[in-house]
Protein backbone atom coordinates (compact mmCIF):
# COMPACT_ATOMS: atom_id res chain seq x y z
CA UNK A 1 0.00 0.00 0.00
CA UNK A 2 1.33 3.42 -1.00
CA UNK A 3 -0.03 6.46 0.84
CA UNK A 4 0.50 10.02 -0.32
CA UNK A 5 -0.72 13.44 0.80
CA UNK A 6 -1.16 16.45 -1.43
CA UNK A 7 -3.04 19.71 -1.39
CA UNK A 8 -4.41 22.11 -3.94
CA UNK A 9 -5.45 25.75 -3.94
CA UNK A 10 -7.63 27.45 -6.50
CA UNK A 11 -9.24 30.33 -4.60
CA UNK A 12 -12.69 28.97 -5.43
CA UNK A 13 -15.48 28.65 -2.84
CA UNK A 14 -15.76 25.30 -1.08
CA UNK A 15 -19.18 24.63 -2.60
CA UNK A 16 -17.78 25.14 -6.07
CA UNK A 17 -14.90 22.69 -5.47
CA UNK A 18 -17.24 20.24 -3.75
CA UNK A 19 -19.49 20.15 -6.78
CA UNK A 20 -16.50 19.84 -9.10
CA UNK A 21 -14.83 16.88 -7.42
CA UNK A 22 -18.10 14.97 -7.26
CA UNK A 23 -18.73 15.56 -10.95
CA UNK A 24 -16.86 12.57 -12.40
CA UNK A 25 -17.21 13.88 -15.94
CA UNK A 26 -15.15 16.91 -14.94
CA UNK A 27 -12.85 15.24 -12.45
CA UNK A 28 -11.62 12.13 -14.28
CA UNK A 29 -10.18 14.02 -17.29
CA UNK A 30 -8.09 16.03 -14.80
CA UNK A 31 -6.00 12.89 -14.35
CA UNK A 32 -3.44 12.81 -17.16
CA UNK A 33 -4.43 10.05 -19.59
CA UNK A 34 -7.77 9.54 -17.83
CA UNK A 35 -11.17 9.44 -19.50
CA UNK A 36 -14.71 8.46 -18.68
CA UNK A 37 -15.76 5.42 -20.68
CA UNK A 38 -19.36 5.31 -19.47
CA UNK A 39 -21.41 6.83 -16.67
CA UNK A 40 -23.00 4.07 -14.62
CA UNK A 41 -24.77 6.28 -12.07
CA UNK A 42 -24.74 9.71 -10.44
CA UNK A 43 -21.79 8.68 -8.29
CA UNK A 44 -20.04 6.14 -10.48
CA UNK A 45 -18.41 5.68 -13.85
CA UNK A 46 -16.45 3.24 -15.92
CA UNK A 47 -13.13 4.87 -16.72
CA UNK A 48 -9.68 4.18 -18.02
CA UNK A 49 -6.28 5.72 -17.73
CA UNK A 50 -3.46 5.42 -20.23
CA UNK A 51 -0.01 5.91 -18.74
CA UNK A 52 2.71 6.63 -21.29
CA UNK A 53 6.07 5.11 -20.45
CA UNK A 54 8.19 6.50 -23.24
CA UNK A 55 7.38 4.57 -26.38
CA UNK A 56 5.22 2.09 -24.54
CA UNK A 57 2.08 2.67 -22.55
CA UNK A 58 -0.06 0.83 -20.04
CA UNK A 59 -3.80 1.18 -19.84
CA UNK A 60 -5.83 0.50 -16.71
CA UNK A 61 -9.59 0.16 -17.05
CA UNK A 62 -12.12 -0.08 -14.25
CA UNK A 63 -14.52 1.88 -12.12
CA UNK A 64 -14.54 5.10 -10.15
CA UNK A 65 -17.20 5.63 -7.52
CA UNK A 66 -17.94 8.07 -4.76
CA UNK A 67 -17.64 5.58 -1.90
CA UNK A 68 -18.13 8.00 0.98
CA UNK A 69 -19.39 11.55 1.16
CA UNK A 70 -20.05 13.98 3.99
CA UNK A 71 -21.70 17.02 2.47
CA UNK A 72 -21.57 19.04 5.67
CA UNK A 73 -17.85 18.50 6.21
CA UNK A 74 -17.04 18.52 2.49
CA UNK A 75 -15.24 15.21 2.74
CA UNK A 76 -15.49 12.48 0.13
CA UNK A 77 -13.69 9.30 -0.77
CA UNK A 78 -13.44 8.25 -4.40
CA UNK A 79 -12.73 4.57 -4.88
CA UNK A 80 -10.84 3.48 -7.98
CA UNK A 81 -10.67 -0.18 -8.99
CA UNK A 82 -8.92 -1.05 -12.20
CA UNK A 83 -7.12 -3.80 -14.04
CA UNK A 84 -4.28 -3.53 -16.53
CA UNK A 85 -5.65 -4.00 -20.04
CA UNK A 86 -3.91 -6.97 -21.60
CA UNK A 87 -1.93 -7.71 -18.44
CA UNK A 88 -2.15 -9.27 -15.03
CA UNK A 89 -1.79 -6.16 -12.91
CA UNK A 90 -4.28 -4.00 -11.08
CA UNK A 91 -4.34 -0.51 -9.64
CA UNK A 92 -6.78 0.30 -6.87
CA UNK A 93 -6.96 3.47 -4.84
CA UNK A 94 -9.02 5.33 -2.29
CA UNK A 95 -8.65 9.05 -2.89
CA UNK A 96 -9.95 11.11 0.03
CA UNK A 97 -10.78 14.78 -0.52
CA UNK A 98 -11.05 17.15 2.43
CA UNK A 99 -12.09 20.55 1.16
CA UNK A 100 -11.80 23.97 2.72
CA UNK A 101 -12.29 27.44 1.28
CA UNK A 102 -10.02 27.95 -1.72
CA UNK A 103 -8.76 24.41 -2.04
CA UNK A 104 -8.30 21.23 -0.09
CA UNK A 105 -6.23 18.23 0.89
CA UNK A 106 -6.01 14.90 -0.93
CA UNK A 107 -4.97 11.66 0.72
CA UNK A 108 -4.31 8.77 -1.64
CA UNK A 109 -3.99 5.15 -0.55
CA UNK A 110 -3.11 3.00 -3.56
CA UNK A 111 -2.40 -0.65 -4.21
CA UNK A 112 -0.67 -1.49 -7.45
CA UNK A 113 0.42 -4.88 -8.75
CA UNK A 114 1.84 -6.36 -11.93
CA UNK A 115 4.28 -4.81 -14.36
CA UNK A 116 3.98 -1.31 -12.89
CA UNK A 117 4.68 -2.56 -9.36
CA UNK A 118 7.61 -4.65 -10.54
CA UNK A 119 9.55 -1.41 -11.03
CA UNK A 120 9.70 -1.13 -7.25
CA UNK A 121 7.86 0.84 -4.60
CA UNK A 122 10.17 3.85 -4.95
CA UNK A 123 9.30 4.15 -8.62
CA UNK A 124 5.59 3.66 -7.97
CA UNK A 125 5.67 6.41 -5.34
CA UNK A 126 7.56 8.78 -7.69
CA UNK A 127 5.20 8.20 -10.60
CA UNK A 128 2.06 8.38 -8.45
CA UNK A 129 3.33 11.54 -6.80
CA UNK A 130 3.91 13.07 -10.24
CA UNK A 131 0.47 11.99 -11.41
CA UNK A 132 -1.29 13.50 -8.39
CA UNK A 133 0.75 16.73 -8.48
CA UNK A 134 -0.26 17.11 -12.12
CA UNK A 135 -3.86 16.38 -11.08
CA UNK A 136 -3.77 19.05 -8.36
CA UNK A 137 -2.50 21.60 -10.87
CA UNK A 138 -5.46 20.83 -13.10
CA UNK A 139 -7.79 21.16 -10.12
CA UNK A 140 -6.57 24.73 -9.79
CA UNK A 141 -8.33 25.49 -13.06
CA UNK A 142 -11.29 23.15 -12.77
Amino acid sequence: MVELDHSFANDKPTDYNWEAILDLDRLIPCVQGGRVVERTGDDSAKAEIKVKMGAMSMTFAGTVEVAERDDAAHRAVLRVKSREVGGQGYANADVAFDLADGGGRIHTAAQISGKAASMGEGVVVSVLDGLIKDFTQKLQAI
Partner: protein
Protein backbone atom coordinates in the same frame (compact mmCIF):
# COMPACT_ATOMS: atom_id res chain seq x y z
CA UNK B 1 47.07 5.58 -40.84
CA UNK B 2 46.66 8.76 -42.87
CA UNK B 3 43.93 9.30 -45.43
CA UNK B 4 45.42 9.99 -48.84
CA UNK B 5 44.74 13.49 -50.19
CA UNK B 6 41.61 13.62 -52.30
CA UNK B 7 37.89 14.28 -52.33
CA UNK B 8 35.74 11.65 -50.65
CA UNK B 9 32.05 11.27 -50.09
CA UNK B 10 30.35 9.06 -47.55
CA UNK B 11 26.71 8.13 -47.16
CA UNK B 12 24.47 5.30 -46.03
CA UNK B 13 25.82 3.04 -48.81
CA UNK B 14 29.34 3.03 -47.42
CA UNK B 15 28.92 3.97 -43.78
CA UNK B 16 26.57 4.05 -40.82
CA UNK B 17 25.71 7.19 -38.90
CA UNK B 18 24.50 6.08 -35.51
CA UNK B 19 23.04 7.89 -32.51
CA UNK B 20 23.04 6.15 -29.14
CA UNK B 21 20.86 7.38 -26.31
CA UNK B 22 20.73 6.36 -22.67
CA UNK B 23 17.99 6.54 -20.06
CA UNK B 24 17.83 7.93 -16.54
CA UNK B 25 15.38 8.70 -13.76
CA UNK B 26 13.59 6.77 -11.04
CA UNK B 27 11.56 4.81 -13.60
CA UNK B 28 14.45 4.27 -16.04
CA UNK B 29 13.81 0.54 -15.75
CA UNK B 30 10.77 1.08 -17.97
CA UNK B 31 12.76 2.73 -20.76
CA UNK B 32 15.31 1.57 -23.29
CA UNK B 33 18.80 2.51 -24.34
CA UNK B 34 18.44 3.15 -28.04
CA UNK B 35 20.57 2.62 -31.10
CA UNK B 36 19.22 4.91 -33.80
CA UNK B 37 20.47 5.01 -37.37
CA UNK B 38 20.36 8.07 -39.58
CA UNK B 39 19.31 6.65 -42.94
CA UNK B 40 19.64 9.68 -45.21
CA UNK B 41 22.84 11.70 -45.00
CA UNK B 42 25.91 12.69 -46.97
CA UNK B 43 29.38 13.68 -45.86
CA UNK B 44 32.25 15.10 -47.86
CA UNK B 45 35.87 14.98 -46.82
CA UNK B 46 38.41 17.02 -48.73
CA UNK B 47 41.77 15.83 -47.57
CA UNK B 48 44.65 18.15 -48.45
CA UNK B 49 48.35 17.48 -48.16
CA UNK B 50 48.36 20.23 -45.56
CA UNK B 51 45.86 19.15 -42.88
CA UNK B 52 45.08 22.79 -42.23
CA UNK B 53 43.39 22.88 -45.64
CA UNK B 54 41.40 19.71 -45.03
CA UNK B 55 37.65 20.22 -44.72
CA UNK B 56 34.70 18.10 -43.77
CA UNK B 57 30.96 18.67 -44.12
CA UNK B 58 27.88 16.60 -43.45
CA UNK B 59 24.18 17.04 -44.05
CA UNK B 60 21.48 14.72 -42.73
CA UNK B 61 17.74 14.45 -43.12
CA UNK B 62 16.29 15.02 -39.62
CA UNK B 63 13.28 12.84 -40.49
CA UNK B 64 15.39 9.84 -41.45
CA UNK B 65 16.25 8.58 -37.98
CA UNK B 66 15.22 4.97 -37.50
CA UNK B 67 15.27 3.06 -34.22
CA UNK B 68 17.25 -0.12 -34.85
CA UNK B 69 17.58 -1.49 -31.34
CA UNK B 70 16.39 -0.86 -27.81
CA UNK B 71 17.75 -2.70 -24.82
CA UNK B 72 17.42 -2.56 -21.07
CA UNK B 73 13.65 -2.10 -20.95
CA UNK B 74 11.03 -4.19 -19.18
CA UNK B 75 9.96 -5.68 -22.48
CA UNK B 76 11.29 -5.76 -26.02
CA UNK B 77 10.49 -2.85 -28.31
CA UNK B 78 8.04 -3.78 -31.05
CA UNK B 79 7.75 -2.16 -34.46
CA UNK B 80 4.92 0.05 -33.20
CA UNK B 81 7.05 1.21 -30.28
CA UNK B 82 9.93 2.04 -32.62
CA UNK B 83 7.59 3.97 -34.92
CA UNK B 84 6.25 5.87 -31.91
CA UNK B 85 9.79 6.88 -30.86
CA UNK B 86 10.56 8.02 -34.41
CA UNK B 87 7.41 10.13 -34.39
CA UNK B 88 8.46 11.68 -31.08
CA UNK B 89 11.91 12.49 -32.48
CA UNK B 90 10.29 14.17 -35.50
CA UNK B 91 7.62 16.06 -33.58
CA UNK B 92 9.20 16.89 -30.24
CA UNK B 93 12.99 16.61 -30.47
CA UNK B 94 14.44 17.54 -33.87
CA UNK B 95 11.17 18.96 -35.20
CA UNK B 96 12.34 18.51 -38.78
CA UNK B 97 15.05 21.20 -38.60
CA UNK B 98 18.03 20.64 -40.89
CA UNK B 99 21.14 18.87 -39.61
CA UNK B 100 24.40 20.22 -40.95
CA UNK B 101 28.04 20.10 -39.91
CA UNK B 102 30.88 22.22 -41.30
CA UNK B 103 34.46 21.92 -40.15
CA UNK B 104 36.30 25.06 -39.09
CA UNK B 105 39.68 23.59 -38.23
CA UNK B 106 41.32 20.25 -38.95
CA UNK B 107 44.64 19.12 -37.53
CA UNK B 108 46.50 15.88 -38.24
CA UNK B 109 48.20 13.79 -35.57
CA UNK B 110 51.36 11.82 -36.33
CA UNK B 111 49.33 8.61 -36.74
CA UNK B 112 47.13 10.28 -39.36
CA UNK B 113 44.13 10.81 -37.09
CA UNK B 114 42.35 14.02 -38.00
CA UNK B 115 41.15 16.20 -35.13
CA UNK B 116 38.12 18.02 -36.46
CA UNK B 117 36.47 21.08 -34.96
CA UNK B 118 33.40 22.65 -36.45
CA UNK B 119 29.82 23.77 -36.05
CA UNK B 120 26.77 21.55 -35.99
CA UNK B 121 23.32 22.88 -36.81
CA UNK B 122 20.67 20.95 -34.95
CA UNK B 123 17.09 21.78 -34.03
CA UNK B 124 17.51 25.27 -35.43
CA UNK B 125 20.61 26.17 -33.43
CA UNK B 126 24.34 26.03 -34.12
CA UNK B 127 26.93 24.86 -31.59
CA UNK B 128 30.57 23.79 -31.84
CA UNK B 129 31.56 20.12 -31.79
CA UNK B 130 34.92 18.38 -31.95
CA UNK B 131 35.82 14.79 -32.79
CA UNK B 132 38.63 12.63 -34.09
CA UNK B 133 38.35 11.00 -37.51
CA UNK B 134 40.40 7.82 -37.35
CA UNK B 135 41.50 6.03 -40.51
CA UNK B 136 42.19 2.29 -40.49
CA UNK B 137 43.03 -0.43 -42.93
CA UNK B 138 41.19 -0.75 -46.23
CA UNK B 139 39.86 2.80 -46.15
CA UNK B 140 37.92 2.33 -42.92
CA UNK B 141 37.12 5.55 -41.09
CA UNK B 142 35.49 5.97 -37.72
CA UNK B 143 34.51 9.00 -35.70
CA UNK B 144 32.53 9.55 -32.57
CA UNK B 145 31.35 12.57 -30.63
CA UNK B 146 29.39 12.95 -27.44
CA UNK B 147 27.00 15.86 -27.70
CA UNK B 148 24.71 17.45 -25.14
CA UNK B 149 21.17 18.01 -26.37
CA UNK B 150 20.68 21.08 -24.17
CA UNK B 151 23.60 22.81 -25.95
CA UNK B 152 21.23 23.02 -28.93
CA UNK B 153 18.27 24.06 -26.80
CA UNK B 154 16.73 20.60 -27.02
CA UNK B 155 14.87 19.54 -23.90
CA UNK B 156 15.74 15.87 -23.39
CA UNK B 157 12.63 13.73 -23.75
CA UNK B 158 10.95 12.74 -20.52
CA UNK B 159 7.86 10.73 -19.61
CA UNK B 160 6.08 9.43 -16.55
CA UNK B 161 6.08 12.86 -14.94
CA UNK B 162 9.83 13.23 -15.32
CA UNK B 163 10.69 9.88 -13.72
CA UNK B 164 11.84 8.45 -17.08
CA UNK B 165 14.26 10.58 -19.09
CA UNK B 166 16.60 10.38 -22.02
CA UNK B 167 20.10 11.29 -20.82
CA UNK B 168 21.16 14.74 -22.04
CA UNK B 169 24.38 13.42 -23.58
CA UNK B 170 24.05 11.26 -26.68
CA UNK B 171 26.79 9.55 -28.67
CA UNK B 172 27.03 10.05 -32.41
CA UNK B 173 29.21 7.67 -34.42
CA UNK B 174 30.27 7.25 -38.01
CA UNK B 175 31.73 3.95 -39.16
CA UNK B 176 32.40 3.41 -42.83
CA UNK B 177 34.75 2.75 -45.67
CA UNK B 178 35.99 5.48 -47.95
CA UNK B 179 35.23 4.62 -51.56
CA UNK B 180 38.46 3.65 -53.37
Amino acid sequence: MAIAPGHYTLGPDDATLTVRTGKAGAASKAGHNLRIEVTSWRATIDVAGDAGQTAMALTADPRSLRVREGHGGMQALGDDDKASIEETIDDEVLEGAGIEFRSRRVAAASDGTLSVEGDLDLAGRSHPVAFDLVAGDGGRVTASARIRQTDWGIKPYSALFGTLKVVDEVDVEIDGTLPA
